[in-house]
Point group: C2
Chain length 435, copies 2
């Protein structure tokens, strides 16, 4: 068991628990659902990420002595609730979309079925994970499309919280990035790591040449040399002079990229370094990547825009009680009627309807007792936790690989116009409710 995750939680989850344990409703079987009311403004689809990471965090959602003592000292809940928390271990069932799959407005990304007590206290943690990770994955998938097969590396660790950085690297990899700069993401999730040198390394040395010689001496000529600390043209010449014909790549991190890339490519070719690659890393996002499609760029490094969800850093997912049993044990769908925040009660089973050629045509949600027809398409829901037992085929580095493969398969189902970058589009397929 890792460090307890139990206090990464809003206080009101525990005060609701406290009152519900006292009045007896805490033990009602309940169904909570995670979904997004809409996609971020310029997106045609979203990408589910965070599931495997969440399962490990739920495993560590336990109240040990330090957590209980703090709750007692701060009068958060009463003695009876403290006892209940001391014994807490999630024993319910969780099903959800397979990590890496796509989502649309209303898609039931996760369904938690348990007592109200066991399920309500997971709300904050579940949403923190899905809102951040899915935001990054959704942005990453568009960058992957925009790159048209050229490899992308995630390098945004310094532009987000230090732990979010690890989650971002993981989400980007699931959505098709090739590597990350973040070492902890390499260790924890098995993601390939990359990176050679920053401007500071050149500045530390008395000359650019000494810096290049040192780097090539340590990492070999196949390394990537950063050539824009002083003058890009001179830097390119020097890089070839130092590393020779085996120079792996040069990196450009500033300036007017289309013009620079073209001139550096010409210079490298003129020197005979036709196999030396060019990687660019200067404040890229999906639009600037797309704008470089005709430039001889070999790979991209993306930072800020990726780890901040490219303008939409929280995916807008919510966790709602959609049904519970009454005193006789019968399931009752429930829904609130608040303005603009209405919910659709009841259990939902989700399918992606596919046309004859395998192209996605709709997100079909069967509500309550409605029975899916046999030929609806691909069922989206997987059981992730059964009576508290986590299915470990979804967790750890193996879960990441699996999610990445799944993403690659399902993004291929999207209609081609769904992959275009145009802003202001509608979801590329409609969400249909069958009651």
């Amino acid at each position: 068991m890792g460090t307890s995750t139990a206090l990464l939680t809003d206080r009101y989850e525990l005060t609701m628990l406290d009152a519900a344990l006292r009045d007896g409703t805490a033990h009602r079987r309940s169904m909570f659902e995670v979904f997004a009311r809409s996609l971020p403004h310029d997106r045609r689809y979203g990408v589910v990420a965070g599931t495997g990471r969440l399962l490990d965090l739920i495993r560590d959602f336990r109240f040990g002595e330090p957590e209980l003592q703090w709750l007692a000292d701060n009068d958060v809940v009463g003695a009876h609730t403290l006892e209940w928390l001391a014994a807490y271990r999630f024993s319910g069932t969780i099903s959800g979309y397979q990590e890496g799959d796509l989502y649309f407005p209303g898609s039931p990304i996760l369904t938690v079925e348990s007592s109200f007590a066991e399920g309500v206290i997971l709300e904050t943690l579940i949403l923190s994970v899905f809102n951040y990770d899915s935001s990054v994955a959704s942005a990453a998938a568009r960058m992957v499309s925009a790159a048209h097969g050229r490899p992308l590396a995630e390098m945004g660790s310094r532009r987000t919280g230090e732990h979010s950085a690890v989650a971002a690297a993981r989400a980007a990899y699931i959505a098709g990035f090739q590597a990350t700069s973040n070492l902890e993401a390499g260790r924890t999730w098995g993601i390939p790591t990359m990176g050679t040198a920053a401007h500071a390394f050149t500045l530390l040395h008395d000359t650019e040449e000494q810096a290049f010689r040192s780097q090539v001496s340590t990492m070999g000529p196949g390394t990537t040399l950063l050539i824009d600390t002083y003058d890009v043209e001179a830097g390119a010449e020097l890089a070839v002079a130092v590393a020779g014909s085996g120079l792996g790549a040069v990196r450009l991190d500033s300036g007017d990229l289309p013009a620079l890339v073209a001139s550096v490519r010409a210079r490298l070719d003129a020197l005979g370094n036709t196999a030396t690659k060019i990687t660019v890393t200067n404040d890229l996002d999906e639009y600037t990547i797309a704008a470089l499609a005709a430039s001889p760029v070999d790979s991209y490094g993306v930072g800020t825009s990726l780890v901040t969800g490219s303008g939409s850093v929280a995916a807008g997912m919510v966790y709602k009680l959609v049904a519970h049993t009454d005193n006789s044990g019968r399931w009752m769908p429930v829904a609130k009627r608040s303005a603009n925040k209405a919910t659709i009660g009841g259990r939902k089973v989700a399918f992606r309807a596919l046309g004859p050629d395998g192209t996605a045509t709709a997100e079909v949600l069967y509500v309550g007792t409605a029975s899916p027809s046999a030929d609806t398409g691909r069922q989206l829901t997987r059981v992730l936790v059964t009576d508290g037992e986590i299915d470990d085929s979804f967790t750890g580095p193996a879960g990441v690989s699996r999610a990445r493969e799944h993403h690659a398969a399902v993004i291929a189902e999207l209609p081609e116009q769904g992959l275009r970058l145009a802003k202001g589009g509608e979801p590329i397929i409609p969400t249909e409710y069958v009651a």
Copy 2:
């Protein structure tokens, strides 16, 4: 010592170290500086946050057996560098702005003086912390101004990574928020926590009345009842009927707030509950808070916009080598010339110039050997770490309180128009370099 933070780092920090240890430049004394080239587009000032949190993370920046083994297994660095990392403990000096202070373009928020080796590997962690925490604090300070003395609570944990949520609560508190919903922020940083119930609690019960009775029975009539699950007007009547004249507050989380707040206030007053407060929590940001200035709102809860920096989720801070010693031990200022990313080399000492009435007039940075004049104003730089010894008066819950008090004092120095919300403003005071 806590969990190692050493791998929350970009790979290139370690590959630069590897090459610099081999070529001997790793031991050159170096000076790294954290600063932002500009403020986010619509801001007149920024707020420094993260310093105290960073100091603890630096304390835990140690390479233990698991980290070294992973680096060896993945050929990140050579054997000599692994040995050096095994013995690593930061032994340099760090000075910086006091946490909670304001910053402007070019403000040297942190200066790290150490060998190149010891300083370069801290880059990623330092920037992750300052970019996120300062982004949140900078947004929070504007919300506090917009609220004109009404209290604000941070409730955005579910809209950012689960660990970033704790940092966000801390940053918001430093910038003047009164409380947070996040329990871990309460435990780790001593921030007051708050929260009572969500819509799920009402939906769980057979009637709204049963939910209200349960909550009042457990938490007393002074609690806050959420009254918008079904019908706000009826909810307000019911809340008073259940809790009586001692009802602490009602919460509105949806709808057209100015109209709703006015009608709920009138209803509460008509029922004699003139002391019952109204708190609102529906997708607020600094602009909607300002728009509610004339409404009888008693307090605000802010989520998404706060933890995402209100449109600017990464503060744009960078960590640059600005000077190092040469082989004779003499300090050499260094600067790169990359397009749009030029830096100003050399050590900087920062003062906030103050007018006769104590109002800030300029950010004055003395570069290199320039001597500050005696009457420049308030010196901004504090020594935080001396030869590896962390000044613990800046860390932990006490450091948070100190930063919060400092922020309240220094924001009062700003010219009044600096606190207005108008978009597109220039920094409210200029940054002046004295060489």
